[in-house]
């Protein structure tokens, strides 16, 4: 009979990503509710040394697939290995992070195992034996509560939403042999954009600019983001104007983000933008138009030309830093 909770913990370049800790922490919570044990899975090459870290967040056991063939993520190799581990361990619940890689990994795994998957979940609960997940739909305009069936019940959790909780224990680390199976994809090249720029989906603070920026010069926002340790985003109009790359777009046709603080500068607040950032913990809106819809969603609003306020804000935060 299926038992236990299995969590695939994502690592990049030999370091766990934040979503890995979030997934393991959430896995611990689900395992406790079910009265089951929690097993973490780490896949990669030269990553054995980091495996015990998962114990800090509550993993009872960590399975390590350390193999040169897993050095680079490819969907088919990773999916084949995860499926093998699931067949071997027969867990009740399988959790993954819904990062860009985790999304296609979880979808492929669920299809191979012919079981239920709730994608991009913002909360999980257990009702009897059933895993119930809450996931945004329509870019966050609607929240769906879904029940996941099958064995295992799979949920991919949205980055930056679940709390990281320490639950120290000495995890039992076990090295496993992996067989990547039939693989029809190959990584040719890896390009890191700007090492310093954190992805919007993982950022704790986002400073976004819209049409009110008036042009491609976002240096004021970059300075503010820098002093806050945040990252810069953009509205659809700013991206459509060619002022910012597509990877910066927040909204229903861009990235859905949930930082602790979202500062919207010169963004009017079109419904599809609001859908993409509405789950931010705090929203600040800076816009010279007092009628801009963004003010209805903002915790704090400043009716003022952003070109006057943003530098003043940067200066204020700089003062605090000292």
């Amino acid at each position: 009979m299926a038992q236990g909770v299995l969590v695939v913990a994502e690592q990049v370049g030999g370091a766990f990503r934040k979503i890995a800790y979030e997934a393991v922490s959430e896995g611990r919570r689900v395992a406790d509710t079910l009265g089951e044990s929690l097993t973490g899975v780490v896949l990669g090459s030269g990553i054995e040394a980091i495996a015990p870290e998962l114990g800090k967040y509550g993993a009872d056991k960590v399975l390590v697939g350390d193999d040169p063939a897993l050095a680079d993520y490819t969907t088919d190799a990773y999916a084949n290995v995860v499926c093998d581990i699931v067949r071997e361990c027969d867990p009740k619940v399988l959790l993954l992070g819904a990062s860009m890689g985790g999304k296609d990994l979880s979808a492929r795994v669920a299809a191979h195992l012919d079981t239920g998957l709730a994608m991009d979940c913002v909360s999980l609960r257990v009702d009897g034996d059933a895993l119930i997940a809450t996931r945004p739909m329509f870019g966050g305009k609607v929240l769906a509560e879904v029940s996941v069936q099958g064995t295992p019940q799979i949920a991919a959790i949205r980055p930056n939403v679940m709390e990281v909780v320490e639950a120290e224990r000495a995890a039992d680390v076990e090295k496993i042999s992996v067989n990547i199976g039939v693989v029809k994809t190959k990584l040719l090249e890896k390009r890191v954009e700007t090492a310093a720029k954190m992805d919007l989906t993982e950022a704790d603070i986002i400073v976004s600019g819209g049409r009110g920026m008036g042009g491609p010069d976002f240096s004021l926002l970059e300075e503010l983001a820098e002093v806050l340790g945040g990252t810069v985003g953009a509205s659809r109009s700013a991206v459509d104007e060619g002022w910012r790359p597509q990877s910066d777009q927040v909204g229903q046709t861009g990235k859905v983000v949930s930082p602790s603080l979202y500062i919207a500068c010169g963004i009017s607040g079109a419904i599809q933008h609001l859908a993409g950032m509405g789950t931010s913990k705090y929203i600040v809106a800076i816009n010279k138009d007092p009628e801009a819809p963004i003010f209805k969603k903002a915790d704090y609003g400043i009716v003022e030309d952003l070109f006057n306020v943003v530098p003043a804000l940067t200066a204020q935060f700089r003062k605090l830093e000292r």
Partner: protein
């Protein structure tokens, strides 16, 4: 090159979504239905590959009768034919069920390449294309912003957090399109006229030899129990001050002392 585009008709992103009385679906009256925005990139990319290499572009969709309109739009852009799997039993199914229907239809449709939008903006499931590729046993590359087909392979640039991967996959393969890959064309008036005469086949689960209990509501392994609207954010404070500097200072104070996040 035989190219199949997986297409979905969805509510326009400007639509105000309202929840229906059954609390598991949305109200469909007053909804403006459009082709999923990410699928527009998929159709465009398929057409560009066909224009460069020759071949045929087939549009494949699962949906009710109204989805014909989205397929016709793709045909007007230049696709060659359409297939709509229209069967009431598919309603209430999950992503895996939809993928099973599409995969079955694809087994009867020649294909070297399958193209789909990276996600549908209604369910935000990110799941159907990957599941279709898994069921067909073919490779997939997600979130592609550039691709090149050559010598039985496709080389794709895929976006990931903070970077780009260049991935090669053997054909037949599936890839999903991300915004930025191209600028979708508008259907021309002659294109719209021609689209009316292009073949559009309709099939149901029986035609595909599929059992409704496998792929419809009965077979769903991820079921919507309830839909709700996210709690409204209570209207916030307008930060006052004589000068921009004073407003900035007050905001910083509020973020530190009231919100306690800085």
């Amino acid at each position: 090159m035989e190219i199949v585009v997986l297409l979905k008709q969805v509510p326009d992103t400007e639509t105000l979504i309202q929840i229906a009385e059954d609390r598991t679906s949305i109200k469909t009256q007053d909804v403006k239905w459009v082709m999923n925005p990410y699928d527009e990139f998929a159709v465009e990319e398929a057409l560009r590959i066909k224009e460069a290499q020759g071949g045929k572009v087939t549009i494949l969709s699962v949906g009710p009768e109204r989805a014909v309109e989205a397929i016709r739009t793709a045909l007007a852009m230049g696709a060659d034919e359409g297939i709509l799997i229209d069967d009431p039993s598919t309603e209430g199914g999950d992503a895996l069920g939809t993928a099973k229907v599409l995969a079955q239809a694809l087994k009867e449709t020649p294909h070297n390449l399958i193209v789909a939008g990276q996600r549908a903006v209604d369910d935000d499931g990110y799941q159907v294309p990957a599941a279709v590729a898994a069921l067909l046993g073919i490779p997939q590359v997600s979130m592609v912003i550039k691709e090149e087909v050559r010598e039985g392979k496709i080389i794709c640039e895929r976006t990931i957090e903070g970077g780009t991967l260049v991935v090669e996959a053997e054909l037949p393969a599936l890839f999903t399109t991300q915004k930025g890959i191209n600028e979708p064309r508008y259907a021309s008036l002659p294109g719209i006229m021609k689209a009316k005469k292009k073949p559009l086949a309709k099939k149901n689960l029986d035609d595909l030899g599929l059992d409704p209990s496998e792929v419809g509501q009965g077979g769903a392994k991820c079921r919507v129990m309830t839909l709700s609207l996210p709690s409204e954010r209570s209207p916030g404070k307008i930060v006052d001050g004589e000068t921009p500097e004073a407003k900035a200072a007050e905001l910083v104070r509020l973020l530190r002392e009231e919100a306690k996040i800085i």
